[in-house]
């Protein structure tokens, strides 16, 4: 499976106790870029054609704005996708994400109340599923988007099993 962090060596990945990170499959990035292109490519063409036809060549340069947005967004989506990673440790799950606003969440297996796998119509079309963990604290925001359905199900089953074994009350 092609993953985002395969190439990027984790600092200190070899040392004992350091988590083994897994990135997200490339599918999520593909879908997000596709959506971006679906919106911005027609917009660029439309803006260029209309402005070129009615306002003159100089005005058509404004069509470069959506194009710039497209290129910038393309790069940003890549960076964001690469920043997502998760690690299953012996007793807890780590999720790390974000480029500008970084966030790293640790959820102990014993605290999981509910593990949810969701897949919307678009996600299903591209063979993706997201996994969401709920604890008794509503502030816990532990979601892993864009997993392949078999991986999501494997993770769900494993987390449920580990959660049962280490279950603790409130």
């Amino acid at each position: 499976m092609e993953t985002g962090t395969e190439g990027t060596a984790d600092p200190g990945a070899g040392t004992a106790g350091e988590p083994v990170w897994t990135g997200l499959p490339r599918g999520l990035l593909r879908v997000r870029r596709l959506l971006l292109a679906l919106w911005l490519v027609p917009l660029t063409i439309l803006a260029g054609a209309l402005l070129g036809a009615f306002a003159g060549g100089a005005w058509a340069a404004f069509a470069l704005l959506p194009l710039a947005a497209l290129l910038w967004g393309w790069a940003m989506l890549g960076r964001n996708w690469r920043s997502w990673r998760y690690a299953e440790r012996a007793d807890d799950l780590l999720i790390s994400r974000g480029v500008l606003w970084r966030e790293e969440t640790i959820v102990p297996y014993g605290r999981m109340q509910l593990v949810e796998v969701t897949s919307g119509p678009l996600e299903r079309r591209f063979g993706l599923a997201s996994l969401q963990l709920h604890t008794a604290a509503a502030a816990t925001d532990a979601t892993i988007p864009g997993l392949t359905p078999p991986e999501a199900e494997r993770l769900r089953d494993r987390l449920t099993e580990l959660g049962e074994a280490r279950s603790a009350g409130l």
């Binding site: 007793d91 807890d92 500008l100 606003w101 970084r102 966030e103 790293e104 969440t105 640790i106 959820v107 102990p108 014993g110 605290r111 604890t135 008794a136 604290a137 509503a138 502030a139 816990t140 925001d141 532990a142 603790a168 009350g169 409130l170």
Partner: protein, 451 residues
């Protein structure tokens, strides 16, 4: 009507205490009166809403219409009240409290006793005269409708003792003999201290000031007496009711400790008796408003999952409050001021001035974070209560090499240690996850009397 005989009226309430398993009971027979108020309140509300219309209608009424109206209204109210009482049952099994209710829409709530977070017995003023009380179990996700209102005063106490004994894990046959656990008083707030403390919060003065300034401005702007009166009365009323209401609610505040957990009793008119079983407190906050600092007073708030009660001590000297907190969170010592480490100086770029107010101390039992310069707040989370740990870092914070660590608890409160050095924050994140895991292993079981 007196309370002691009342439960005996309810069918099935007074038989021998043998097999109590699924014996169904009804609420106190005065309960229908509570519901019977509804139609009268609707009529009164309508009359107050449109006074002129009501007066005209009143003049038109003849004695016969009045009598006819009452003849319909009173039996209807009585019937509604009676039926809703008749169709409400509750029973206590070994593991659950079951409440069955509803005339048209049946509703059955099964509340698991080992999941009890707190038990409240409350007595509104009127209920105190009649000798009845409400009993509510705080469970996560429980509904306001799941309270037992009303029970006889003595029955409510007995039921609370029984529920706590079952929740604690006493053997089913001994539950009735265990009785009420003895309580040892930890703290009592004298009324004078409470009054001074409420005045010193500054809220009453702020409201009073607003009540004087706003109408004067309005007078200058409009010169209309009615506008001024319309603005001043609610403001003055608000200033009064806010403080007086708080005084009435927190009057005679007593905190006690018993094997069943913390006991909190308070109230001048409405009496509240709360019981928080051991190991249910998720977070404790010690708040120190500016004007209390000279007197060395603090307020202590606590968070219990699924419960709306939030005050542990309305006001107490710092050392006394510390003692109560250490009883509420067994095994925890409140770190002293010297134990807290401040964020690095460079974090002043992220939060100017206020960065000095932040502080963090972790012991092997508790995660303690402090914030606030004017109104100091200290939040304590026992490691065993941590649901998840998060580290966040915005671009601005990354530039200065600092990060925030959040600790989420089950009472939907998040305690944040802000602006820690980035390296330290990562270490703190990992260490906190480990500590929470080991903390849970040594925590007491849900059924606190079973070992």
């Amino acid at each position: 009507m007196t309370a002691p005989d009342a439960p005996a009226d309810a069918p099935g309430a007074a038989d021998a205490p043998g097999d109590a398993a699924a014996r169904e009971r009804r609420l106190h027979p005065v309960t229908p009166l509570r519901r019977a108020w509804a139609p009268v309140a609707v009529v009164l509300g309508w009359a107050a809403h449109d006074l002129n219309e009501a007066q005209r209608r009143l003049v038109q009424l003849t004695a016969t219409t009045v009598l006819l109206g009452l003849a319909v209204l009173i039996p209807a109210a009585a019937l509604y009240g009676f039926l809703s009482w008749w169709f409400t049952h509750f029973s206590v099994t070994d593991t659950e409290l079951r409440i069955r209710t509803g005339l048209l829409f049946r509703r059955t709530a099964h509340i698991r006793l080992d999941r009890i977070q707190a038990v409240d017995v409350t007595q509104p003023l009127l209920a105190r005269f009649i000798g009845v009380a409400k009993l509510r179990l705080d469970v996560i996700g429980a509904d306001k409708r799941d309270e037992l209102a009303f029970l006889g005063e003595r029955e409510a106490r007995a039921l609370r003792a029984e529920l706590l004994a079952r929740a604690a894990g006493f053997a089913p046959e001994s539950v009735h003999d265990v009785g009420e656990a003895p309580a040892e008083q930890l703290l009592h707030v004298p009324p004078r201290m409470l009054a001074v403390a409420i005045l010193l919060t500054g809220a009453p003065f702020a409201m009073l000031l607003a009540a004087l300034v706003v109408p004067s401005l309005l007078w200058l702007a409009t010169h209309s007496l009615w506008t001024v009166v319309a603005a001043a009365v609610p403001l003055l009323g608000g200033a009064g009711t806010n403080s007086v209401g708080r005084f009435i609610k927190e009057y005679d505040w007593t905190v006690g400790e018993s094997p069943d957990g913390l006991r909190i009793d308070h109230g001048l008119l409405d009496r509240d008796h709360e019981t928080v079983p051991p190991g249910r407190v998720q977070t404790v906050r010690i708040v120190e408003p500016l004007l209390w600092r000279r007197l060395g007073w603090v307020r202590v708030e606590l968070a219990v999952a699924g419960s709306s009660n939030s005050v542990l001590v309305p006001v107490a000297p710092r050392e006394v409050a510390r003692g109560v907190v250490e009883r509420a969170l067994p095994g925890v010592t409140v770190p002293g001021a010297e134990a807290f480490t401040r964020p690095p100086r460079r974090s002043g770029w992220c939060v100017p001035l206020w960065w000095r107010g932040y502080g963090l101390a972790t012991t092997d039992a508790v995660f303690a974070a402090r914030h606030g310069l004017v109104r100091r707040r200290l939040a304590l989370v026992p490691h065993a209560k941590v649901q998840s740990v998060r580290l966040t870092q915005g671009p601005w914070e990354r530039w200065r090499g600092v990060a925030d660590v959040h600790v989420d608890t089950g009472a939907n409160q998040t305690v944040t240690a802000r602006l820690r050095d980035a390296g330290e924050a990562v270490e703190l994140l990992r260490a906190q996850a480990d500590r929470s895991r080991t903390g849970r292993r040594v925590a007491r079981p849900d059924r606190w009397m079973s070992s």
